[in-house]
């Protein structure tokens, strides 16, 4: 048995190593291909006298300007300002979205009453709330947080409600039978049962919020990644602009990675499926 198991184990380990290396290699190759396309596009811009001004969009001027932007704290300041807005917006989306989603999942009456209205509101472009947000809130920061929250709340609500619809009703019966009160029911039964769906909703919401953040910061405010992009455009510092675009991509990718890790951590369904 041991003699059979050892080669099988080695084979599995080898496969993991090979596929692990392959994934890493593919990732690096993909990034290099992206950089090559980027450089190629810049070269094409340089060939045309009308667009030659924009060659600083290229990867080499961009990477060269990173140390300067880092040492002058411009990247950090922009990230902190945008991070605060997106963090607060997402927090509001979760604070309102999860309970509303639970209510939709638990109460058929509430679901029937709210579904049409929510679907209607969900389809409104978040940025079209901008004039209303500006009237409602005295400063731009709050207005942007409102826009992020209103964009991000819908995926959270609908994912939570969908998760609850899949919960085995017998778990509620068992919990009641063992003396669970409503707080226990939510904290020890419902939330763990739907954690996978809630985090999936948060992941989707984060994508939407990140998309809304930059255009929202293009208006009014004097801080954040969107503002930094607008400022770079106004000062014709296109290499700074692309640095900020890269920062947006890296942070978005990092936040998505956190969401995926949370989904994996709190998922119990993969075992059932497996």
């Amino acid at each position: 048995m041991i003699g059979v198991a050892a080669p099988a184990g080695s084979l599995t380990s080898l496969c993991q190593r090979v596929f692990g290396v392959r994934r890493l290699t593919c990732g690096i190759l993909g990034l290099l291909a992206f950089a090559a396309l980027w450089e190629l596009g810049t070269m094409l811009l340089g060939l045309n006298p009308a667009t030659r001004t924009f060659v600083t969009f290229g990867p080499i001027p961009t990477f060269k300007s990173v140390p300067f932007l880092w040492q002058t704290d411009r990247i950090q300041d922009a990230v902190v300002a945008s991070g605060y807005r997106i963090g607060m917006g997402m927090l509001l989306a979760v604070i309102f979205g999860v309970p509303i989603g639970i209510l939709m999942g638990l109460s058929k009456r509430f679901r029937e009453l709210s579904n049409s209205g929510f679907q209607f509101l969900r389809m409104i472009s978040p940025l079209s709330w901008m004039p209303l947000a500006v009237i409602m809130y005295p400063d731009w920061n709050q207005a942007i947080i409102f826009l992020i929250a209103i964009a991000a709340v819908w995926p959270v609500i609908f994912a939570t409600a969908a998760g609850l619809a899949k919960v085995d009703p017998n778990w509620f019966k068992v919990a009641r039978n063992l003396g669970a009160n409503p707080v226990h029911m939510i904290s020890l039964v419902i939330l763990p049962a739907i954690a996978f769906d809630v985090f999936t909703g948060i992941r989707l919401a984060l994508g939407v919020a990140w998309i809304v953040l930059v255009p929202a910061e293009l208006l009014g405010v004097t801080s954040g990644l969107g503002y930094a992009i607008r400022d770079a455009r106004d000062t014709l510092s296109y290499n700074h602009l692309t640095v900020m675009v890269l920062v947006i991509g890296i942070i978005g990718w990092f936040l998505d990675g956190i969401c995926v890790a949370l989904i994996t951590r709190y998922s119990w369904r993969h075992r059932v499926a497996g």
């Binding site: 919990a175 039978n177 063992l178 669970a180």
Partner: protein, 290 residues
């Protein structure tokens, strides 16, 4: 673990699920002494599971009452705990966490939870699986976890709703023996709902036979068997035959119990000549003793 059972008094229990629906059962009267194990036998649809849910406080009856000692049952309580047909374990928790969940609901201190959970897991012989994910266990092991989850509450009354019907024959037999032994050792009451006559004979001291629509209790038959109960024992087979006869008599009187429903299971042929006298319920429908 609790060392004593509870006196059960079910009085004038009638139930319908809604104002428009038909009666599920009517005028059910049952009394049981502390430490007694009852089996409720009947075909699917006669209301025996509903009756158990009402005793557990998971349903409110339309009329009548259930009292455990002097306590009126108005909702679930750790004093009376139900075990269901399927284990319904929480898949995001390990075995020990599932077992201790009721104690967490009861806000017991962590040390006490750890101690009582370890005791309950030992009782159902799953020590080596305490940290396992419940999804990795077999059906029988999962049902043992559900049993431990119920017993850890130290209930005075354990209610079992066809808890072994989804298990294979070997696991079912082992669990029937173990549950009876644990219940006897703890001195608690047990009420088991089943359509398996063998199960009723092996696990209980009285069998209530329910039939008809709305369901009624037609017979209340003591199962006076001393010592360990084995399927092959002549006394067990005699009792099985006696219950079968009583069951057939009850269902013959009830046109609602058609033959296309789930049949009552028996493990062996009835023995003619060993059928004890049974008393068919009259219009009064109170509990009758053989």
């Amino acid at each position: 673990m609790a060392k004593r059972g509870v006196r059960i008094r079910i009085q004038g229990l009638t139930h319908r699920y809604s104002a428009r629906s038909a009666l599920t059962f009517e005028r059910v009267e049952v009394e049981a002494q502390a430490g007694e194990a009852l089996a409720i036998i009947g075909r699917s649809g006669c209301g025996k599971s509903t009756l158990l849910h009402i005793v557990a406080g998971l349903l409110r009856p339309t009329h009548g009452s259930v009292r455990l000692d002097d306590t009126l049952v108005e909702g679930p309580s750790p004093r009376w705990v139900m075990m269901f047909q399927a284990p319904h374990l929480f898949p995001w928790m390990q075995v020990a966490q599932n077992v201790g969940i009721g104690l967490r609901f009861a806000h017991r201190p962590k040390d006490e939870i750890r101690r009582r959970v370890a005791d309950a897991i030992r009782l159902v012989e799953l020590q080596e699986f305490a940290d396992a994910n419940v999804q990795d266990l077999s059906g029988g092991q999962q049902q043992r976890v559900a049993l431990a989850r119920s017993l850890v509450m130290e209930p005075e009354l354990l209610l079992l709703d066809e808890p072994f019907s989804a298990l294979d024959a070997f696991t079912r037999a082992a669990l029937q023996r173990d549950v009876r032994s644990i219940v006897k050792r703890l001195g608690i009451n047990m009420v088991i709902v089943t359509h398996d006559i063998d199960e009723a004979v092996l696990m209980s001291e009285r069998a209530l036979i329910m039939a008809g629509r709305p369901g009624k209790i037609f017979h209340d038959i003591p199962i006076d068997l001393n010592g360990p109960r084995e399927r092959q024992d002549p006394a067990v087979q005699d009792m099985r035959a006696r219950l079968m006869k009583a069951f057939e008599e009850a269902t013959r009187l009830q046109p609602g119990d058609s033959d296309d429903e789930a049949p009552v299971r028996t493990g062996a042929e009835s023995r003619p000549g060993n059928i004890a006298k049974t008393v068919v319920a009259t219009g009064n429908l109170g509990p009758t003793r053989a």
